[in-house]
Point group: C2
Chain length 163, copies 2
């Protein structure tokens, strides 16, 4: 989606520093995403992942499994995960699908100052004791670290004025 | 919403460690939320904040402001912010509005292993040069650190099967 580490495309703007070196707080990885995807095969977004028809699985590590109590198949979930393998300093980016360079906060690029990915998915299966949450689709690489799960709630998670 | 630091309610379960001490990766604070809310006055969720009729403002610090290029009033945004002032170790919680203790991943409680808050809001104004994004409502304390802004996109951010 963007040029490789250190590279830059016409119109792109890099910060003069690496955000990874300015740590304000720490996150802990609580599990990982299991998907069929890796570099070169990952769908460009969740809609494309859904169209590919491949389900996803979330593995929650043992210390955190008690936190799954109350989830159930049929619920919609917000999944937050860590896309930190790439660079974090491209503040203006020129992805191929855009006519002109665009600020990172107007893009869903995985390259961002805080590389937190967001997926709204449908829970299709749950084994809380084993820490396994089955979902309809995920658009991240296999092994992507998990940060959080939240229930998706229509009354608060729909924008008030539409897009 | 939960008992104070160190305290615990019947049915609640605390981890035997503090997630803040298990750092897998670092986040950088890129600005802050400006709201009328503080301890004792904060609405319980974004719907209640909306009903209170108070707009919110997001301040993006200078290094990151170029990333706002491409945003515009009228867009729906996902705001990610850091709710790290409280404890992070309550894996099962007993909030007053629930009949029974519930896992943190089935709750929208600010007390969670990775205290990342999520708000889907409507952008009502923008001054990119000044780093100011006006939004229709926010339900966090004034001064809450900002982690990320993303465009909300109906084609990927609506759950496929409903809630």
């Amino acid at each position: 989606m963007t040029a490789g580490q250190g590279g830059i495309r016409p119109g792109e703007v890099a910060l003069g520093f690496d955000p990874a070196e300015r740590v304000s707080a720490g996150v802990v990885f609580i599990g990982r995403l299991r998907t069929p995807w890796g570099p070169g095969t990952c769908p460009k977004n969740l809609r494309a992942a859904r169209e590919a028809g491949a389900a996803g699985r979330i593995e929650v590590d043992a210390p955190w499994r008690a936190g799954l109590e109350g989830l159930a198949p049929g619920m919609a979930l917000v999944v937050l995960y860590w896309l930190g393998a790439g660079r974090r300093d491209l503040i203006v980016q020129a992805p191929r699908h855009r006519d002109s360079p665009t600020g990172v906060f107007a893009l869903r690029s995985p390259v961002r100052p805080n590389p937190i990915g967001l997926a709204v998915v449908h829970c299709t299966g749950l084994d809380a004791a084993a820490g396994v949450v089955e979902v309809d689709a995920l658009d991240a690489f296999d092994g992507t670290p998990l940060l959080d799960l939240k229930p998706w709630i229509a009354g608060i998670d729909l924008p008030p004025g539409g897009q």
